[in-house]
């Protein structure tokens, strides 16, 4: 589903965020990218989203080489990839339902489709009764659920999550992880960058460890290894 082939990313100024990274992520997998701050986890997420370009190497997402993707086709790539971020990235002046439906509206879906789909996904994330509230009226965990709902409402085959529990307390984080696990069970491939060892250890999924942009470990049903955090 996602393949990185000898990917290197060097920023202006010479700092290396990824060095010769090769990864093969299968359909339906749940992969944790772990490592300390600055290890290159978020950069890999951004590269898979074509928010940044690689310096060297190739990245295939859903069978397409996104390193040669013309710029005008980037929105089409992003429509097949749901994204969740640490800071939720919700529109403060739109309600929960509007935030979620926004992802469908930009795709030009008719209102008759948007309404039921939003209702369904809000039900899935447990926010059906908060559809009319604004982000500021929600807790951090609830805001992240809205963010997950928006990422999943379009039923993308891939979901990328960059530190989705970074701003949440452990109990709330568990709730978000259960939600992501549920989504993963529907067949959605999930790649999640995190340095929350408790979550990684509890989930027992594939772990790709990074340090200074280099893959140091790639284990199926792996653990975080506390000494890295």
């Amino acid at each position: 589903m996602i393949r990185l082939e000898h990917v290197t990313k060097v920023y202006e100024g010479g700092s290396v965020a990824a060095r010769d990274v090769s990864l093969d992520i299968q359909k339906g997998e749940f992969v944790f990218l772990v490592g300390p701050s600055g290890s290159g986890k978020s950069t890999l997420i951004r590269l898979m989203l074509r928010d940044e370009g690689v310096t060297r190497g190739k990245i295939w997402v859903a069978g397409k080489d996104i390193t040669t993707l013309p710029k005008w086709k980037i929105p089409y790539l992003r429509r097949s990839v749901g994204t969740v971020f640490q800071d939720y990235k919700l529109l403060p002046n739109k309600t929960v339902a509007e935030n979620v439906s926004f992802a469908l509206e930009v795709l030009g879906r008719p209102r008759s489709v948007i309404g039921p789909q939003v209702e369904q996904v809000l039900d899935l994330v447990g926010l059906a009764d908060m559809a009319g509230r604004y982000p500021r009226q929600l807790s951090g965990g609830e805001q992240q659920r809205v963010s997950v709902a928006r990422a999943f409402v379009n039923r993308p085959p891939i979901m990328l999550a960059d530190e989705p529990t970074g701003n949440l307390d452990p109990k709330t984080s568990v709730g978000i992880m259960k939600l992501l696990d549920r989504i993963n069970r529907t067949g959605t491939t999930i790649v999640m960058a995190t340095h929350d060892f408790a979550i990684v250890d509890a989930m027992q999924r594939r772990v790709v460890a990074l340090e200074k942009g280099v893959v140091t470990r790639d284990e199926h049903s792996g653990r975080y290894e506390q000494d890295q955090g």
């Binding site: 074509r50 928010d51 690689v54 310096t55 929105p75 529109l91 926004f102 992802a103 379009n154």
Partner: protein
């Protein structure tokens, strides 16, 4: 269709939500275009007045009465016939003493003390329209040679010539001012819209994240710019029109200077200014948006887009 209405709704919601920034953009357009349109109207007023002064009579030759002081009967007609032969003259006509009295009565209507004169003291005259205003000296000289018939020669040509020169200078200044203010309007709109977009860069980022195409992101901003430009320009046109018509009304009866500009002028130029305002708004939006819609290259060195 639902997509279009969604974008239109987004544009209006944004306009309402960012009221102060929008008001700033509208004000920027309004001020720049009011000044530019005002300069254009002043220019038009000057043009109309110069034209009015150039039209009609340029030289008047007041004549001695026939049959007295050695002026033979028929001398007036003879002089008129001669004037017609001069190449500097475009047209000429004779005003006899009776017509002069009628004209006098019209000019001084309501001023009884001035009307209590002996009508016979008013001289007959020949009114001359020149081919070109600068020929007045030569015609005046020729008339002054006819001392037996001509009492004196009056001409406003010199003043008209000076006004014509002033008008030419003002024309150039007016066009220059309109161009400078027009460019300022575009720059002001671009900056204001860039500011508005900067305030909403998170929104643009989120739209990109969920897979909105660049044109899809652009359209609400372009509509906003268009609306701001049109509203600002329409307000400018309306304000200048209102000011000019009020001024024209206040100056009615003031014979020396015309302040009335035709509605056709306002309609034609007003429409052009509104189109200019709309274009300035759209161009400003495009300029303001470009840096936020830039995507990273797929391979090779690049600078991060700024999307966190």
């Amino acid at each position: 269709m639902s997509r279009f209405f969604f974008l239109l709704r987004e544009a209006f919601v944004n306009l309402k939500r960012n009221f102060l920034v929008v008001a700033g953009a509208v004000l920027a357009v309004f001020i720049s275009l009011s000044l530019a349109f005002g300069a254009l109207v002043v220019n038009e007023i000057l043009r109309l007045n110069t034209l009015a002064w150039q039209e009609g009579v340029h030289v008047i030759a007041f004549l001695r009465d026939e049959g007295s002081g050695g002026v033979p009967p028929g001398a007036h007609q003879a002089l008129l016939d001669e004037v017609f032969t001069w190449e500097e003259v475009n047209d000429a006509f004779y005003v006899d003493k009776a017509q002069a009295w009628v004209e006098y009565q019209e000019i001084f209507a309501g001023q009884e003390e001035l009307l209590e004169i002996d009508p016979t003291i008013l001289p007959a005259s020949i009114r001359i329209e020149l081919v070109a205003i600068e020929l007045h000296q030569s015609v005046k000289f020729k008339l002054e040679q006819q001392q037996q018939v001509v009492l004196n020669v009056s001409t406003a040509a010199e003043q008209i010539e000076q006004l014509q020169n002033l008008s030419n200078v003002l024309n150039v200044l007016g066009i220059g001012m309109a161009v400078v203010l027009g460019v300022s309007a575009v720059v002001l709109i671009a900056n204001t819209i860039r500011l508005a977009i900067y305030a909403r860069r998170d929104e643009v980022e989120i739209m990109k994240l969920v897979g909105a195409s660049n044109w899809y992101i652009r359209i609400p901003f372009l509509l906003e710019g268009l609306i701001e430009g049109v509203v600002g320009a329409a307000l400018a046109v309306f304000t200048v029109w209102l000011g000019a018509t009020r001024l024209a009304r206040a100056s009615e009866g003031f014979a020396l200077f015309r302040l009335d500009v035709s509605n056709q002028f306002f309609l034609r130029w007003g429409l052009l200014f509104i189109i200019f305002g709309a274009a300035a708004g759209v161009i400003g939006s495009l300029l303001g948006l470009s840096r936020y819609l830039r995507e990273a290259d797929g391979t090779g060195e690049d600078i991060p887009t700024g999307v966190a």
